[in-house]
Amino acid sequence: MSSLLFLLTAVAMIIGWAGRWRLAVGVFVVAFLLSLAWLNHHITDPLALGF
């Protein structure tokens, strides 16, 4: 999954450099939303903090 996020980000950059602004930003948004979901998947353990 993490490798897919890198791949999507690289594809977004390549598409952007090729001049397709809307498509590049669209792929970026997909990569960003998937990254948020993946971060949420990884931050479920409770923190050992006491106040």
């Binding site: 980000t9 001049g19 990254s35 948020l36």
Partner: protein, 178 residues
Amino acid sequence: MPRLVEFANLLAVLGLGIVLLAAYGFQFALGELPCPLCTLQRIAFALTAFGFVMNLRFGAKPAHYGLIILAALFGMTASGRQVMLHIVPGSGAYGSAVLGLHFYSWAFILFGLLVLGVAVLLLMGVPAAGTRHQPGVPATAAAFLVIALVLANAVTTFVQCGPIECPDDPTSYWLFSR
């Protein structure tokens, strides 16, 4: 695009390339495999680089800066979470320290500096809509470098983690331990 703004965007792309290269240095020279949160921070650096690359290609736009800020806030969340995991004395740390701070602490600071830098660049203004922009050779070289590094991360992350998920405390490469 004013030359100073273009130069700052070029420096940002190169700086993010250096960050990704430094992470590779620790991974391959010192054998410190990135944990899932560490990998997410690398992804956040790649996502911030996207906005700067778009500025180099199309000229500075508020939308590109907005994407950079979103990606940097995502990176601050991932790195801040890892700082919180290790902030209690005796709770250990992950990886080597550089100048007394671990990578996730440096990442948190760098993402904050990126937000600050973007605020300064926005204050310097953006070109009027419709202004033609042609990237030069240094901008093209910097963009290709960071694209190559992000693609390399896609490959090495797959070699380390496989198609689904990295272990919390990785000690070997998924592809070589099958």
